[in-house]
């Protein structure tokens, strides 16, 4: 097919730069300045895709971002991008485009059987059918429906491009660079405002790009536009952004913009960002976003070749493309006449202008008649024909009561429709601006209520170029005045709404056919018809939000730009209510789809969330450690030898600690230094424990509660001096513990004289645990007596190790004799290696978090957040002993005496021993008191009819005990020692015996070895 639909002259395309592109593997030619849509139309291609549900052939409907049908996949390999609107894809040489949603081909699509069987798929069909048999849902229906659903094909490879993000501030952000927006920018700039002007298109100008005869300020529209852009470009106060969509409005006048930087280039420079996300804080925002043309709803209004009238006019004047050679124009608004007259001037045959309105009169109809165009008043469209392109329409006269007369056929190859215009108020509404319905305009208009946001031009219902420009000037001046202040005298007032506005139509066109059989589309992209909307009302849906969700109208990627008002009109008449009483669905961002890349920016991979590593990370890595994520930290989980699995490695690591000595990196523990004359008093108030009598050099296991009495965190605290505490927290709790402490210190006890400093990253912590640990350390520590007499369990000393200053703790989380060496983080690796070398002869073994977990569970030491949740009190986990009984108050104390907190049937920490010692229970498994009647349930889903009395919190295989062990929270657990309980699992019920949670060395002899 040749470029037969291209005019020889005119338009804003560059005929000296022909571009080749492919669509479904076929090569076509277009020009620089074309969009993919205009280039396809220039080649006579209307059929560009298949519809979502019925797989009906579809063509290009619109000329801008409102396009519902022409969703195209562009690019290949890693840069394959689905679901782009062909009307927004700028042509470049070598562009590769594909149609979507069909198999095996666009011309012949098996999915089109859905169209034949469409009575099976009414609105909400998936709620109604596929109910039986129940088991088929998962195996058959859901997979089939899922395979059919979805638009386009998601790219499978990681996005190779990078995306930039920027913050910007300005006095006036002007969104939309049509006549109103440009006029506003010029006016705001002239009054000293710093301006950002953005527009989603490649060129500034908006509707002016398709004007040839109009004049502004006595200049032709194109030359006014060129002068304005030149002026804006020269000004140091103006930044204008093309290809930039304002997609969302956020609180305090922050507007999100996404700027497309490289998608229009054949060969973008390496490394250049593909898109840039702007977060603009504007003192004042001017919306000059224009209005969108509405389709008419009539039977089979979705054939390729049926398009919006003003869109056709834009293709003609901006891209010099004739959308067809014989046009039927369906009018419910005068703008259709304008399109017809312009097309006729370029020798497109206007078969007829079919006006639904009773009396097609007025200046536009007169002009059309004067130009010799046949105008038919009070005429409707009853149907269309043509498989891959419309070939005829059936028209009939219609009376005001909807009765349709004798039908006749008009042959044509394009149908242009105009149902009226819908102001683009998305951003205004997102900013919680109020809307009012104008009966005259059949449109919702902005009505104040959005602070710092004003609308100008067509988006507030103004029409006519002169009025729109004047309105833009007024808005620009007012924005500058409000943003910059000073004494700007507004010389222009906003243009009042005209009295004789033309609102078009919100109702479907009448026809003679059975309403149950015809498809008159409202939402093209989601294949929602007028009868679907009526069906929803018949089935009892009243709220427009529910009708929307039930029928999915307006829920496609275009968010109903062309369909929402028509759907609302149909719903309102079906509900027999006025439109404003039915109301509008909520506008949500984004205005058009935004890539995940733009939102992510550089926050990808390791930059998405910071990765925190300890000083020994590389050492552990070199030893083959397997790491786990704990919050943002990477922690060594176990150190497998060659051929060893986790089970083997953990058993070996535990055995080494129990028999000789192990080394463990505890650096991720949170550390907070609390210093000041009132440090001890602060500690008394924040922890359950008493601190006054703890001597410097000694440690204590501290527990802190939330005010509601539940355990917040725990950890060993060392007192270094009377006014200095070294507090440790759990790895994951460090930040919230500091926040909790700061909260009380700043807001409740601001009279206390002490300071809190996070020291987590300042200290590397090397735990050396096991009966041989003292002997290893003695070789390295210079000035601390490590003997049991001089340095008992739970003590802390300051001194030096290998000449490096250290805070040396004698503490144990394994139940063995043990030490934790704190050294400045920069020395962590060196000291770790020195300890490792010194322990070589004793086969010192590095162990990871898994072995640590097993050993602490053998000792019944809890992990806050694993064995506890937000409901557990100290007594529940056997920590009543820690509470300072003599203290008058501490955070959480009062709550511990509330009745529910002292209930003897609260869940309590116990140990569990599975009857089968080989068995390791599943963490999280539920516990019941009696053996179910049917020990092996028939199916996984069958109820066992028993009350859950507890759950497993920790469970491991203990090498030391040579059996599975578990910790659990069980109702009244401490009363149940020795009882047999049951853990129902899919494979059968497991018998367990309740025991003391301290499985190993309950007397604690090993600690003092």
């Amino acid at each position: 097919m040749s470029a037969s639909c291209r005019l020889n002259a005119g338009g804003r395309i560059d005929r000296s730069r022909p571009l080749r592109f492919t669509f479904d593997r076929k090569v076509y030619e277009g020009f620089a300045g074309d969009t993919l849509a205009s280039a396809l139309l220039a080649n006579g291609v209307h059929l560009v895709g298949r519809s979502f549900k019925y797989h009906r052939p579809r063509g290009i409907v619109a000329a801008g971002s409102d396009e519902p049908n022409a969703l195209i996949a562009v690019g290949s390999d890693v840069r394959f991008t689905p679901n782009l609107r062909a009307t927004q894809v700028e042509l470049y040489d070598g562009l590769v485009a594909q149609s979507q949603n069909h198999w095996p081909s666009l011309g012949f699509d098996f999915g089109a059987v859905n169209d034949v069987f469409s009575p099976l798929f009414p609105a909400g069909f998936y709620y109604k059918t596929f109910m039986w048999p129940k088991s088929a849902w998962k195996r058959l229906y859901e997979p089939k429906i899922r395979a059919m659903a979805g638009l386009g094909r998601a790219p499978t490879l990681p996005d190779p491009d990078n995306y930039a993000q920027r913050h910007a501030h300005c006095d006036a952000l002007i969104i939309g660079a049509g006549p109103a927006g440009i006029a506003a920018a010029l006016a705001a700039e002239a009054h000293g405002a710093r301006v950002i002007l953005c527009d989603e298109q490649a060129e500034l100008g908006g509707s002016l790009l398709a004007e040839r005869k109009a004049t502004i300020d006595a200049k032709s529209a194109p030359s006014w536009l060129a002068d304005a852009v030149a002026k804006l470009s020269r000004s140091a106060k103006v930044r204008w952004l093309s290809r930039t969509t304002a997609f969302g409005s956020f609180p305090h006048n922050m507007i999100g913009l996404v700027e497309r930087l490289t998608d229009h280039l054949a060969a973008p420079a390496e490394g250049r960002p593909r898109e840039r996300l702007w977060q603009v804080r504007a003192k004042e925002v001017v919306l000059a976003t224009g209005a969108l043309e509405r389709p008419l709803v009539f039977p089979d209004n979705d054939r390729p070749g049926i398009m919006l009238a003003d869109a056709a006019r834009q293709y003609l004047l901006r891209y010099a493309v004739k959308p067809g050679s014989r046009a039927v124009v369906a009018a419910a608004h005068d703008e259709a006449y304008r399109a017809a007259i312009e097309l006729a001037a370029e020798s497109v045959e206007i078969v007829a202008i079919v006006d639904i309105r009773e009396d097609a009169s007025g200046p536009w109809a007169d002009r059309a008649r004067a130009a010799g165009l046949p105008v038919l008043s009070a005429t409707t469209i009853c149907g269309t024909r043509g498989r891959h392109r419309v070939s005829s329409v059936e028209i009939a006269p219609c009376r005001p009561d909807g009765k349709v007369g004798a039908r006749s056929r008009l042959d044509c190859d394009v149908v242009l429709m105009c149902g009226g215009f819908t102001p683009t108020i998305h951003l205004f509404s997102q900013a919680r601006g109020k809307l009012r319905f104008s009966e005259k305009l059949n449109a919702f208009l902005p009505d104040g209520g959005a602070e710092g946001i004003r609308c100008a031009g067509a988006c507030r219902g103004i029409s006519g170029l002169d009025a729109v420009v004047a309105d833009g000037v007024a808005a620009g001046e007012a924005a500058a005045r409000d943003a910059v202040g000073g004494r700007i005298e507004a010389v222009h007032a906003p243009v009042p709404l005209s009295e004789d506005e033309d609102g078009g139509r919100l109702e479907p066109l009448p026809h003679h056919r059975s309403p149950h059989r015809v498809k008159a589309f409202v939402d093209f992209q989601n294949d929602v018809t007028a009868k679907d909307v009526k069906l929803a009302v018949r089935e009892g849906f009243r709220s427009i939000e529910h009708i929307k969700r039930y029928t999915t109208t307006g829920m496609a990627t275009d968010q109903g730009k062309t369909s929402n008002m028509n759907a609302l009109g149909i719903a309102a008449s079906a509900l027999d209510k006025p439109v404003p009483a039915v109301g509008l669905t909520t506008f949500r961002m984004p205005y058009t789809p935004v890539t995940f890349g733009a939102f992510a920016g550089s926050a990808r991979g390791n930059l998405f969330d910071p990765v925190r590593v300890t000083a020994t990370h590389d050492w552990a890595s070199a030893k083959g450690a397997v790491f786990e994520d704990v919050g943002q930290w990477k922690r060594a989980r176990y150190f497998p030898l060659k051929g060893e699995d986790m089970h083997g490695a953990v058993a070996r690591e535990c055995q080494a600690v129990r028999q000789s000595v192990g080394i463990f990196d505890g650096s991720t523990l949170g550390k907070i230094e609390i210093v000041g004359p009132d440090a001890a008093e602060f500690m008394n108030r924040i922890y359950v424990n008493p601190w006054n009598k703890l001597e410097p050099g000694r440690c204590r296991y501290g527990v802190m509660l939330r005010e509601d009495g539940s355990i917040l965190d725990d950890g060993v605290v060392g007192r270094l001096a009377s006014d200095r505490f070294h507090v440790t927290t759990t790895t994951g709790g460090a930040a919230q513990v500091l926040n909790h402490m700061e909260d009380f210190l700043q807001t409740e006890w601001s009279g206390l004289d002490c300071w809190l400093t996070s020291a987590t990253e300042q200290w590397a912590v090397i735990a050396v645990q096991g009966p041989d640990s003292r002997k290893v350390l003695e070789r390295l520590v210079d000035d601390i007596d490590l003997s049991s007499a001089a340095m008992p369990h739970m003590s802390v000393r300051e001194g030096h190790i290998c000449g490096v200053p250290t805070r040396l703790f004698r503490v144990s989380f394994t139940g063995e004799l043990g030490f934790e060496i704190n050294v400045p983080a920069d020395f962590g690796r060196a000291i770790w290696e020195a300890v490792f070398d010194a322990g070589f002869s004793r086969a010192i073994t590095p162990y990871g978090t898994e072995a640590m977990h097993v050993m602490r569970a053998e000792k019944g030491y809890i992990i806050v957040g694993q064995d506890t949740d937000g409901t557990v009190t100290p007594d529940d986990v056997g920590l009543s002993w820690a509470i300072g009984k003599a203290k008058m108050d501490f955070v959480g104390k009062r709550s511990l005496t509330r009745p529910a907190m002292t209930d003897p049937d609260r869940k309590q920490l116990v140990g569990l021993l599975p009857e089968d010692p080989e068995l390791v229970l599943e963490e999280g498994a539920q516990i019941i008191a009696e053996l179910p009647a049917d020990a092996k349930p028939k199916s996984k889903d069958a109820p066992i009819g028993q009350k859950m009395i507890g759950h497993v919190t920790s469970s491991y295989f203990s090498a030391a005990l040579d059996r599975g062990i578990a910790l659990a929270m069980v109702a009244g657990g401490r009363r149940r020692m020795g009882e047999t309980l049951f853990v129902p699992m899919p494979q059968g019920v497991i018998k367990v015996v309740v025991t003391n949670p301290v499985f190993l060395d309950p007397e604690g002899k090993r600690l003092d070895a």
């Binding site: 005010e707 700043q746 807001t747 108050d889 709550s895």
Partner: protein, 100 residues
């Protein structure tokens, strides 16, 4: 994104702050004196108004300080921010009135 005026640092984006719940809920000097009901009210009772709400924020990724703010829950506008310990400022009716 909200723009929050930290009384110590000035206007900063919401991302730098952490919400801290309702303000002006002083911890009782001697909690043991409170009955279960009164203590339960202190723990869980919150005003949750439609309109101006006195609430705490912490400039956690900034100066680290807690402060109080008056925010209209219907439109997220901040009428005032002030330091802990300062009186809740009176705000003009028009500004404080919740827009319906």
């Amino acid at each position: 994104m909200l723009l929050i005026d930290c009384p110590f640092c000035g206007k900063r984006p919401e991302l730098e702050f952490r919400y801290g719940g309702e303000a002006h809920l002083a911890r009782p000097a001697d909690p043991a004196d409170l009955g279960d009901k009164a203590w339960g009210q202190f723990l869980y009772g919150r005003s949750n108004p439609r309109g101006v709400h006195a609430e705490r924020w912490r400039h956690v990724h900034g100066c680290g300080r807690f402060f109080n703010a008056l925010r209209d829950t219907t439109n997220d506008r901040f009428a005032a921010t002030y330091k802990i310990g300062e009186e809740r400022p009176a705000i003009p009716e028009a500004e404080g009135a919740a827009s319906a």
